[in-house]
Amino acid sequence: MWLWNKIKQLAISFRAGVVTLRYPFESRPAPEDFRGQPVWDHAKCIGCAGCANHCPARTIFLRDICQEVRILLYDSSRCTYCGRCADLCPEKAITMSDRFELATDNRQDITQTIELFMMTCQRCGRCYDLEIKNYIDRLSRLGYRYDSLEVRKVIQRSTADFSPEELEKTIGYERPGRLDK
């Protein structure tokens, strides 16, 4: 009886055949909608930094080394392959390839570096504003002025240490309402 069961099992397993893939010795392409390693087309890229701003894993970095040259660094090792960079690229310079055999012994093997030329501003002849890095100074470009009393009302003042004098000033303080009232 035991032997008969074994023979039946053998017959069942022979009917099924071999399902094991010979994977590392024969290629096995990924399905069509598979998102593999993203690939940059450096001829199309305009260096808008949309991919760098939207990457959830922050794997795309931009370095402005000088005027007119911007370097885009992509580190594929931490990438989650979500495909957001390819979705929002305005020039369609990024495509999600079907490459998935990315295993290495060195993390530097799966990085991409792209050197980009940038267009200059027609008014000032430069690419970036590398001089004014202070955010308050940058506000002056939008029309902010220190001596405007209306705007000064809104600014909160603070001290490094607790001061009772500043606290006294706040007694009977009313929040500024709408400026146009």
Binding site: Y23, A57, R78, T80, C82, E101, A103, D109, T111
Partner: protein, 188 residues
């Protein structure tokens, strides 16, 4: 001694017993690791077996960004593996922390905790990718990736020309002199 080392190296390659170490993964990578043991991707043809204890293992398959509570446990598991040992970081989290590389309770990848020898990126990596990574360590396949450096060698003159065309075609104010010239040329 060298003969013995060679023999040991060959024996090591013939049957790698792996220990699956989850250090706070989302279970995506774990399911893919279990997937390679199924009859479809049968890895026992390379002598790879999943074992329950790091003391019996030759290699660690590390998945998940190493979180703060699991950090001492991962270190202990690495120390428990006998000496010729390999560590595979499976998935983006184990390689560098993935999305959580700078979070307050994440160490930031397996490399911060233990030395990692092979990296298998993917979120999660396909079962084929994991098999490829292990086969790379065993010397069955060759490495397929290399660092890519791209440069816009040509200055993008085309972009300047496009801007110039846009200016010419969308003229709001025309100078009187230009108008006269154009009229003159039309007469000729």
């Amino acid at each position: 001694m060298t003969v013995l080392k060679k023999l040991a190296g060959r024996a090591f390659r013939r049957s790698v017993w792996v220990y699956h170490c989850n250090s706070g993964a989302c279970n995506g990578c774990d399911i893919e690791i279990l997937n390679i043991l199924t009859p479809y991707y049968d890895v026992e043809r390379f002598g790879i077996r999943l074992v329950g204890s790091p003391r019996q293992a030759d290699a660690i398959l590390l998945s998940g960004a190493v979180t703060r509570p699991t950090l001492p446990l991962v270190k202990k598991a690495y120390q428990a593996v006998p000496a010729p040992k390999l560590v595979f970081a499976i998935g983006s989290c184990a390689i560098g922390g993935g999305c959580w590389y700078d979070t307050y309770n994440v160490t930031g990848g397996g490399e911060k905790a233990i030395p990692v020898h092979y990296f298998v990126p993917g979120c999660p990596p396909r079962p084929e990718a994991i098999i490829y990574g292990v086969a790379l360590a065993l010397g069955l396949v060759e490495k397929k990736v290399a660092p890519v450096e791209l440069k816009q060698m040509e200055f993008p003159v085309d972009m300047y020309r496009q801007a110039r065309l846009f200016e010419v075609n969308n003229v709001i104010y025309k100078l009187l002199g230009e108008e006269d010239d154009r009229l003159d040329s039309g007469r000729k």
